[in-house]
Each structure stands twice: as structure tokens, then as C-alpha cells.
Amino acid sequence: MRVQSGGMHVQVGGMRVQVSGMHVQAAGMHVQAGDMHVQAGNMRVQAGDMRVHADRMPANMSDRGVHARGVRKSFDRRSVLAGVDLDILPGEVVGLIGPNGAGKTTLMSCLLGFLHADGGKIAFDGRRSDDLGVRARTGFVPERVGVGRRISGWHFVRYMARLAGVPRAEVDRRVTAMLERLELAGAADRPMSQYSRGMLQRAAICQALIHEPDYLFLDEPSSGLDPNGVLLVRDLIAEQKRRGAMVLLNSHQLSEVEKVCDRVLFLRGGVVARAETLRHTDRIVMAVRLLGGKVVTVEGRDDAEIAAAIRRLIESGTDVVEVRPYVADLESIFRGNA
């Protein structure tokens, strides 16, 4: 065993523990940890002031998924987006968080083609966002739905479904099923001017999901919803993820983002100031609380690797108090970056 202070380094067998000011770079990945990092074979443990600059290999624009590179947008010479990179892969839910004015809505508008980016590239499975084939596979839930006062919920969803390309023979069945799923069937015939904020939001979700989109953009989908509605939205996002859809969630509700997102991008000053992976699809990450309160994370490809890592930690003399699945504390991240 070797111990170094001032950038302390502990090594036990194949395991290394490094404390303070560590910097690891491998295979396109760049990880910085202010506190502690433990590595054993394919397993890594990291904690403290972790900063991930890019948590995956840079994707080609032609690859499957939604990709944005260097997206810039200014309004009246005021830069709102100053070169944003973004990747959403099939079956992935990515959260967009950041303070007001960070550029979240502008980024979503550029991705959806509502705004023309001043620079950079945006590709959906290698195709442009204004490609009609891409739009046929896109669903969008705005924060607020503005519709004609007289139109009923049923007609609104049916109209949107037809525009989205749902075949005439199927549309009525799908509209009925979707309205029932969103618990709007009882109010389907009422004019939407009589809808509450939450009911409007449910109708917006109906129209976004009715054609089973591959690219789903959600802007505060839970705003105005009651607790049942929030749970329903959470379930629907999970369903879309299982189906293989690519979901971008813009929300200020950090607890919701934590629960449904695989990754989170923290936007500040028009750039991605921080990217945090909340759920790994290729490995298991556990948080280990040590005696004295310090928490480290342990990564492994399966339970056996996790168990081996924890055993080595204990055998090295570290006092382990608790082991639980790792979930990033978005509130702390937000406070630290806002």
C-alpha cells in the first residue's frame, strides 16, 4: 500500500484511491474530482466536487439520436446560446435545468425549428430538424397551451393527431384511448376554454404522444398538474423511454428531473456548464457512506463487481456505514452552479 499526501494516493492491490485535485482522462471522457476517487479494474469510485465535462464519446451528427453541436443564438446582439452541445440517444431521457434566462427554452425552440440558430448544427438521426419525416416523429408539449376557445378537447387532440399523420381509420380509436389514459375522457366534449390549467396540460400531452413520437420535447410537462397527474407524467415518460424514444425534459422541478432523467445538462450563460449522469445504462453506481459522513461512489458492471469493490474498501480499513444506489443531488448541483 502506498499513501501520498497533498494529492493523496492510496493503492491496495488493483485498487487506487486518490484524494484532492485528481484529474482522469480516458477514451474521450474527462472526469475531475476535488475529493476522492477509487478505481479498481473497470470499477470507479468518485465523490466530492465531481465535474463531468462530457460523459460520453463525442457522437457523429449522422449517428442515431438527437445531436447538437455549437448551437448559437442571439437576440438583439445579446447572446442567449453561446455554443451548446447536446446528445440524446434512443431510450434516453435528458433533463435541461438552469436558472431563468439560461437559454433552456431558446435551445428547445432551436431544436424544434421554431427559432433559427445563428450557428452550429442540429441533427435528428442525421437529418435536419425541418425535415417533414423528422417532424412526423416529433412530439412537443409546450409549457402553456394556447388553443381556440370553442374547440373541445376531443377535437383538439383529433386535429393534432391527423396533422401528425395518424391514419384516418385509426385516429378516433387512438384519441379515445389517449384521452382515457390522461384521464380526460369525462371532459372530452367540453370546450377547452372551460379546462383548468392541469386539464390543458393533459390535452397537450395527449397530442404530443398520440403518434408515438421518437423525439419527445417536454417543456414543464407537470406544471399545473395535481399529484396524480405528476405521477402519470412520470409513468408516461418511463413508457416512452422503454419504447426507445429520445426525451428532452425542460423543468424547474428538480425532484421530477431526478426521478425520470438519465442525464442532466445544467445550462448557464448559454452553455452547458455541467453534465451529470443520473442513471447509467451500462453500469451500476452505488453511493457508499463512510464513517465520518464522507460519501464515495462505487461503479461496477454488475452486482459482483460492486460487492468486490466494497469488500476491498472494507479490507483496506475503510469504515463503510451504508451502501445505497447513487442518485445525484440536483439541488446541490443547482445551488453550486446557479
Binding site: G113, L132, P142, V145, G146, G148, R162, A164, Q207
Partner: protein, 240 residues
Amino acid sequence: MNGTVVAETMRRHFSSIGFIAYLILLGLIGLFASGFATPGSMWPSLVALLSIITGSAIVGPEFSTGALQLIVSKPIRRSVYLLSRVTGVFACVAIASAVGLGAETAGRLLRGDVPLPWPRMTSMFGGALAASLLVIAMLTFLGSLTRSYFNAAIYLGTEAAMSAVQAVVGMLRIRGEGFGAYLAQHPGVERGLATVDDVLFASVRELTVPWLVRVAVTVAVALALACAAFERREVPYGAD
């Protein structure tokens, strides 16, 4: 053209109490006007007014309420959407025009006015349709550049301004002093103003081929410009 948008546009109008009431009013006025010696003397003006009311709402209000963002996220070209909305609105105005013509025809038949003055009546019907299409096209063009109902405000304001300018120019010419003398020597100025007014703000009249061609050209140019502007326009989401 997108049938779904055309059908939805028509459905919205025919499910509106205001639109149905306007159709009933048109029918009653058509019946009333059937007693006049001059055929097609009242309802065509009401059809033109209806085209201003319905044409002003083709795209501006949707832009303001945020509904347009949902539309442009769907797989439909913006120009196709715009032209489909125009078609739907024009179809509603054409039906309203048919109600006026039908009511006047019924009134004349009930009064025993035989034979019916078909040439004049059908000419006024065609004139009302052409003028309405021009109004709708102009409002669509202005709506593709503005929000809410500003298109109607600009349209009516410009029309009133054109009339006022022509009146002032005419008065100056009659007085014959200063600029008036210049106008008297150059009648082309007044003719030009009148032509611009007639091209942009055609009033309902009997059909003639030159007028119809002029209306068709203006409509085509207005709609082409509207489509070009709407295709390039940014649609930031969120209501006004």
C-alpha cells in the same frame, strides 16, 4: 393543400354562433334586397365585410396564443398550412355568398319576378367572391408579418389612408394653386393612386375579365409573399 386543416377551419366557423348568426343575417338581407330593382345590391358588401372578419384571424391570433407552435411542430409545410387556412376561410365566405345569392333568388321567385336577372346576379356573386379572395389574401400577407389582429388594423388603416390621400389630392387639383396646379398638369398621379387603391383594396363590382385578371395577379403575389414570409418566420413559443 391539407384537407385536415381546410376541414378544421370550416368546422370551427360553422360551430361558431357568430358565424351562423351572420349567415342568417345575410339570408334576411338577401330576402329584403330581392325587392330592389337592382339585383345583388346589398349582400355582396356584407360578404366583403365577412371576409375581413374571417380573413384577419387566419394566422395572427394563432401566433399570439401559442397554438401555432403546436402546428409547426407537425409534419406539414408552413406554406401548405397557410394556403389550407386560406382555402378553408374562402370556402366559408363562398358559402356565405351563396346564402346571400340564394336568399335573393328565393325572394325574387316568391315575388313572381320572372325571368330572374341571372346575368347581373351571377356577375355580382362572382365579383363578391373575387373581392373577398383579394381581401383574404391581403390579410394573410399582413398576418404572416404581424401578430394578433394587427393585420386587420393595418389593412383598414391603409385603406382609409389611401381614400383620404385621394380626396386631398383631388381637392388640391380643383383649387389649382401650387401643388394643385402640378396635379392638374399631371393627371397620372391621381390615376396611379386610384389604380393602387383598386389593386390592393378592390370593392365588389360586376365581373369583367381585366378586373378579374388584376385581382388574380394581386392574390397570387400576396399569397406567394405570405408563404415566403411565413416559411422564414421565427415562432418563439409562449403567448403574447
